[in-house]
């Protein structure tokens, strides 16, 4: 199906189809089930059961009992969504209306836009499974992620009350601070790969082994062994910064309940609150996807054959393409579970500790790490 790339309207249609597939069939379901997983994993850690019995509410229709299927709690996200849509949409009188409405949108849109450059699979139907295969991939992710702070700032400011305002201020300073270590910790990876394009990053890892697990191509050279040190450091710094960027515990100070009620979304209700909530989880998915692409080989599994552009229209190639996509999102989901696990294991930082960690440790470590990588790359061929 090479002709698709020659006709502009078909190219646009293919991109739209990929976007819709990615957002509505993959990411949003993962978002809602991550919320469910969050509740079940937290229950597991705290020795509770969590939401495990959501059924059809037939008791509303006059029956004696709700209809319980073998779903367990898997209907919970659906019930949550219905609840969010049906709840009263309340806008307090003291808010700045226009920005109050704009803020949830600005929280959700950048989180989903980052997904545009992420290669989430190899080939399907003669199409590369990435919406926009641009040569500045990782910079685009950082740029759009840095736009995401506006949603939180505006929510805090337009709510016109003190707890959201403090939450907004905290979020801004936290996100600006950790953006630096996030960007700097990705630099060693880009130096090793020698390219900013994310598809090329995956291709490099197919040829030379995943960056974090360099033995996945079956051999381990001295260079790979030495580069393991800076890559490991940059993986740790990147992951910690990602926790801070997505406002997750142990760094969820913008919304810490004990001090700020709920932080920047205190005044929000119903679906507008849900947009902040979903935006946070979508940002988590985007962040995990970047980690998967940069460090964990993207959609690649060592023993799995790789389909090509030509074979991707045949049944076998399409099955392989689907497996590639599943592998990518399986890795993402594993990281999301890790995110949740950390949230329910570590206590929250104090704000000065958070700033100290970002500016005095992670920033310097990331900076030194670049020099270590450069030295290894220059000295060991």
């Amino acid at each position: 199906m090479d002709f698709i790339n020659d006709i502009p309207w078909l190219l646009i249609a293919a991109s739209v189809a990929k976007t819709l597939f990615l957002i509505f069939l993959i990411v949003l379901p993962i978002v809602s089930y991550t919320v469910y997983a969050e509740r079940r994993v937290s229950a597991l850690i705290q020795d509770r059961l969590g939401p495990n019995r959501t059924g059809f509410p037939t008791s509303l229709l006059g029956f004696h009992k709700d209809l319980q299927l073998f779903l367990g709690g898997l209907g919970q996200p659906v019930a949550d969504a219905v609840k969010f849509l049906l709840k009263e949409e309340f806008t307090p009188g003291h808010v700045n209306k226009f920005y109050f409405w704009l803020a949830p949108v600005l929280a959700m849109v950048p989180a989903l836009s980052t997904l545009a450059v992420l290669p989430f699979g190899n080939y399907m139907f003669g199409q590369k499974m990435v919406v926009a295969d641009v040569n500045v991939g990782i910079l685009y992710v950082f740029a759009i992620a840095s736009i995401g702070v506006y949603g939180i700032v505006l929510a805090g400011w337009s709510s016109n009350s003190k707890y959201p305002f403090l939450g907004g201020i905290r979020a801004t300073s936290q996100m600006i601070s950790y953006e630096l270590s996030l960007g700097l910790s990705a630099v060693p990876v880009l130096m090793i790969i020698g390219n900013l394009n994310l598809s090329d990053a995956i291709q490099y890892q197919i040829d030379n082994g995943w960056l974090l697990l360099p033995f996945t191509d079956g051999k381990l050279t001295l260079r790979e062994l030495l580069l393991w040190i800076p890559v490991g450091i940059s993986f740790i710094v990147f992951t910690i910064s990602m926790f801070a960027e997505t406002n997750r515990l142990p760094f969820d100070l913008p919304e810490s309940e004990t001090e700020l009620v709920a932080g920047y979304h205190t005044e929000y209700s119903s679906m507008k609150f849900a947009l902040f909530f979903l935006g946070e989880y979508a940002a988590m998915i985007a962040g995990s996807s970047v980690i998967v692409v940069l460090f964990l080989g993207g959609w690649h599994l060592p023993f799995l054959p790789i389909n090509t552009l030509e074979s991707s229209t045949t049944p076998a190639g399409m099955a392989l393409g689907l497996i590639h996509i599943s592998v990518f999102f399986a890795k993402v989901i594993a990281l999301l579970i890790f995110f949740i696990w950390v949230r329910w294991t570590l206590p929250r930082f104090r704000f000065d500790q958070l700033m100290k960690l970002g500016w005095l440790y992670l920033f310097e470590i990331a900076l030194v790490n670049i020099f270590i990588t450069a030295a290894i790359l220059a000295l060991v061929k």
Binding site: V136, L139, A143, W157
Partner: protein, 167 residues
């Protein structure tokens, strides 16, 4: 780049630019500037200059304007609302911008190559990041390093000045 997209983003960019100076609310002005930057980066992307387009968003929209907004939020906005247009400033500003437009027209009149569009680059994927890097670190190495030192001096100066004020 499709002419429709070009005109769309140009019109949006200019509209947001005008709204930066017409808005009385500083937060609205700052956000209009952000929107204007985003449209400008869309124009860069339309010219296949992805790197400059993304840097425009990353540096100006994502970092500089967030800091601006951060400071504006701490101000008393009602004081800004009470301020009225100063007629003298209005006249002076119009004169300066008229002078700038005349100078621009003069430059354009002696530069005929700017009147017709340049041919398309004809490459599928321009490795502009590599080109910028190589040019910066070979041909412009000394100016690049000097700018780095200059920015460091400016940063140290700002810290020294702001600390003195605290005492």
């Amino acid at each position: 780049m499709s002419p429709i997209l070009f005109w769309l983003f140009t019109a949006l960019m200019l509209a947001f630019g005008v709204s930066v100076i017409l808005n009385r609310n500083p937060v609205a002005s700052a956000l209009s500037l952000v929107a204007s930057f985003l449209c400008l980066s869309a124009l860069f992307v339309g010219l296949d200059a992805f790197f400059i387009g993304v840097i425009q968003v990353l540096v100006y929209a994502g970092a500089v304007m967030v800091l601006f907004l951060f400071i504006i939020m701490l101000l008393d906005l009602r004081a800004e609302h009470r301020r009225h247009f100063n007629r003298l400033v209005l006249v002076g500003g119009s004169l300066v911008s008229a002078g700038f437009v005349i100078a621009l027209l003069q430059v354009l009149s002696v530069f005929p190559a700017g009147a017709k569009p340049f041919p398309a680059l004809g490459v599928a994927r321009l490795d502009d990041v590599r080109q910028v890097g190589i040019t910066l670190f070979t041909r412009f190495n000394l100016p690049f390093q000097t700018v780095g030192v200059l920015i460091l001096v400016a940063a140290v100066g700002v810290i020294v000045l702001s600390r003195r004020e605290l005492k």
